[in-house]
Symmetry: D2
């Protein structure tokens, strides 16, 4: 019954992350969308911004300050980095929050200030924020009020890497993460660099050595390793809408074989609905996760003895953003974790 | 005058490499195309296979055994790997050859047999073959009768890596080559894996740890380093027609800085018409080399102290195949090296 | 409960249409997949053919002759044109059938023979076949044993055109249908013409004046118009996976305005869950129907007085094939027509 | 010798049309680029805007008012529509001009005002402007000071249509032009609608019944037909960078057959270097003109008796813009018309 559904608000509903959240929530058996905000488009219906979301009876877009939070049990926040801390701090305490920006992902506010160029505006709130990589934080998420939803690159990197690091199957030095992503991660703001004509039939690296997802990855790796870990991370822009592929180069720990890595991952993720470890020889492909909440990973021997290559793929808008956010909501409200997330990948 | 032009034959003119050779040779001021072979399409005009090559007065396609070699000064061989050795062995000695297959790239015929699964069929001819990475073999190419044109991945990898290895600016261990390529490198044979519907909006790694371009790279690296070098090489298939981007992870030699790498490359390639080293901060993009014979490279600091990232791009069908083949022809016949190769990149 | 679910078989499960059927049926609340056939891949698990369909507990692929039909209530048939008539004729009478091939779409077996180049092999069965354009054949589909699922082009063309023709809002002469389709409609067989390198960054018309979807459209138009209708139909291949856009040029009937067309469509499809008629000025876009069962249409004034332009879009694999097939199944079994078909479009 | 080369200026060098002009002019044997303007990027080198144009010794970008026109024999003007009239009016009279905007294409300044929403700002200059569809205006272009370079859609439409209309092979009523174009025609300004994520895997019609290329087409059709002609024109946006395909639906004149149309086109364009008429059955494809100055056309019977379908393709940035502009320059300066325009299409 309607009255028993979780009442949901989406802050920043006019971006791609917002759109994908709505795609999932509209078909979630236990969710009801009550509030949608967007600054420039406030006052307009959602289908003025996203025609494919018309016809579902969604509420019109309003400004953040005009939203009625008493209507909501949980708010997903898809606002740009840097704008979110104050807004979330202003929400009623009884509203739960899953924040998809980077604003609450770094536990150390000094690290935040260093990478984002300004002081953290809600340091107290930061203390209660849970880094919501669901498969690794389920218990904390269950009781959290504020979940910082991981970035797409960190999700795709940490899921395969955390078991290897925490079980010390690989050495902590010289972990190299070569990442490739589709364009939707760059958002919907009009920028020359993201025009079709610039991206199509083209490829380049960006943010080499300086991408803001790095501290987030190192924070979680360090937490599981019990000591600081510094990785090399280079993202590349690929001419496709959705999809992310991460190629990780690691050195095996003493006495560990490539099969041990695969087996370690397999054991760690056995029973997980959204993580699949391929058998020997299987090569993860983004076309197999398009539109779904899956992360698929595979392990390969490197030609250099004592080294291995781990590859993972996910849909950056789903498991890398909105899907994981819904997964966290499910955990926070005691629902089956797969509720609303059972879409089969759209291929071709 | 026509009589003084270089008379050219193209073996295997019905593939993409053949098509791109013809695109270049048709506009080469000193070349005249006299013979085109294709097995299945023999007897047909070239525009039955490639409509965009109609209207230029090209000869019809013939079978290899029907070609009149007395008509040619040089033959480009774009046949599949494994079929080329015997055919080239049967050509008259006064015809020069640039072979675009892998059949003559490996000096050690045992290595060839190991990677290609059958004995080398022209081991004597192998002895005189020159590995034609033009910028590194100009003098030998000048006097060669048979040039083995490098593969696309080796070209894009060796151009940035050879100066670093030969000058020992980087350590020889743990060189990691993460490669991304457009689809045209896979050729024109109909295969499910290369259908639009499989490739578009998708990405995956292939031949992990086993790609046949590896021994070729290691051979050349070893030659310049003076001792064996083993690299890690992982190629990925990217949804675009042309273009290759190579991300190389290296450890700096003792006392060497990132700027030294960039400066070393800059000095090495100063005056080279087809190699550009970007200034600090510049990120090579495949859209800037589409259809051109350029290789562009850039050097970046790695977050890991003492490491660097080197990125290079080229068009796999041009500098990675047909363009370099024409460049080698120019050297073999004493022409200006840029003859026929001055196309500006096609962007967008 | 499982026992009460509709037991489904899919003939020809290794093609794209089969894959999209499975995507939908796997999440259908009332369906259970019991039999999957594929000739060449018989004996293998479905994820050997479509890795993204692994992990759902689907049955292995078998040959048609090895399938146990007593296990099924309905069979979807996604076999190539021309092979289906005999196979369906061999199925037990108590199994319902939705055929996605063209084999039962033409009521007149002479027309079939003329367009398909061979005699119809099950003329008796043809007599009971219902042309399953759901919105126009609901009552007949409800009681049908054999439904011929319309082609993608006919669906996208007939949905906007039938109301205009049956209500004589447009003249029956000089109806021009300019169609544009993504590549997935061409299937998964490896053909040079469908390679990424041939299709990407490219566009051309095909089957001009001779496409086999024409008789099917004219049959249905004639049925609703009450007299023969001959249309002009030209399809174009567009570099995208999914999506079809139809631009129809019509002459208005005496005294009819452009607004009357829009209003006529609106009234005809009011309450239809899968058809949307855009208000004035709205331009249908394929990105708004990707992966969904929607058909969206819009009406525009032509610059030529007394003429109009009608545009419709759909996803060729969903409303143009598998989605409509499931919709027909829902009708045949008295289920809510939207069951299993409520996916929101995947954008971007 | 350099001193004898044509000295060229490019106004608005930072757009895609400007870039493609430079690509062609850099390899033109008789041109020398002396002045490049760009408003926002003035003071910067061209490779700050287009890295692929670096390394050729091009002059830095300057503001229009800072350009030294005494340095130039001809100016190509690639400024946005509406800004060009006054600037061109301010150029010295001895500088020839090829304007690629729409500002001088409409001979009737009232028609201009009607379609562009403001008065023509240089009506006197308009009187001497020649509509430079080269194959139809060669003599006038030869002596022109100011050439209005046709739009991409008009070029692709008029080349096949003018011979049919001027020889009355088709009726003048009910000419329907269904156009499909790649994205580069939309320019380089950042707009949401042209983001990769909006355009890729998607398709829609735009400017239905209101596109500004219409009056330009009707003007030229009327001129050749000797009386007003009103056409239906609907453009569609296709997910590709370059390429335009026009499908034209015509009614044959009394006693005229489809073969007569083909033959009429063949005869009209015999000997033309940049127009090809395909033999019966040939279907023009954009991949065969990518990067080249060609327009390819084919004629097909319509299923409706007495009707025909004419299809043409070109690269919107080349024959549809910069290539035709260079072609016009060649005519204006008495050079071979193919100078600098002999690129073979880039396929794949």
């Amino acid at each position: 019954m309607t009255g028993q559904k979780i009442r949901v608000g989406v802050l920043g509903a006019s971006g791609y992350t917002g759109a994908d959240l709505l795609r999932l929530l509209l078909r979630h058996p236990n969710a009801e969308i009550r509030v949608l905000t967007a600054e420039r488009s406030a006052g307009r219906p959602i289908d003025a911004v996203f025609p494919h979301l018309g016809g579902f009876g969604l509420p019109d877009l309003v400004k953040v300050e005009d939203a009625d939070w008493s209507e909501t049990d949980i708010v997903f926040c898809g606002l740009p980095h840097g704008t979110t801390q104050e807004i979330i701090a202003g929400l009623p305490r009884n509203v739960k929050v899953v924040d998809l920006s980077a604003d609450f992902r770094l536990a150390d506010t000094r690290t935040y200030a260093e990478w984002y160029g300004h002081e953290h505006k809600a340091p107290d709130l930061q203390k209660e924020a849970i880094y919501g990589l669901t498969e690794w934080a389920r218990e904390e998420v269950r009781n959290a009020r504020l979940v910082a939803n991981p970035g797409c690159y960190p999700t795709a990197t940490l899921l395969p890497l955390l078991p290897l690091v925490s079980d010390r199957l690989v050495e902590l030095e010289n972990i190299i993460v070569d990442a490739k992503s589709g364009v939707s991660g760059a958002g919907r703001s009009p920028k020359e660099a993201n025009l079709f004509t610039e991206v199509s039939e083209a490829m380049h690296a960006y943010g080499v050595g300086s991408h803001r997802h790095m501290p987030e990855m190192e924070q979680e790796l360090a937490r599981r390793a019990g000591r600081p870990v510094q990785i090399s991370f280079t993202p590349h822009l690929i001419p496709m809408n959705r999809g992310e592929l991460i190629t990780i180069y690691v050195k095996l720990a003493e006495g560990v074989g490539v099969g041990d890595l695969r087996e370690g991952l397999r054991r760690r993720y056995e029973g997980e609905p959204f993580v699949r470890v391929l058998p020997e020889g299987g090569s993860p492909a983004t076309r197999h996760v398009r539109g779904s909440n899956l992360c698929i990973m595979g392990v390969f021997p490197d030609r250099r003895p004592g080294h291995a290559i781990v590859i993972s793929v996910l849909d950056n808008l789903v498991k890398g953003a909105s899907g994981q956010a819904v997964q966290n909501m499910n955990v926070m409200f005691g629902l089956p974790e797969t509720a609303g997330l059972e879409q089969v990948a759209l291929f071709p």
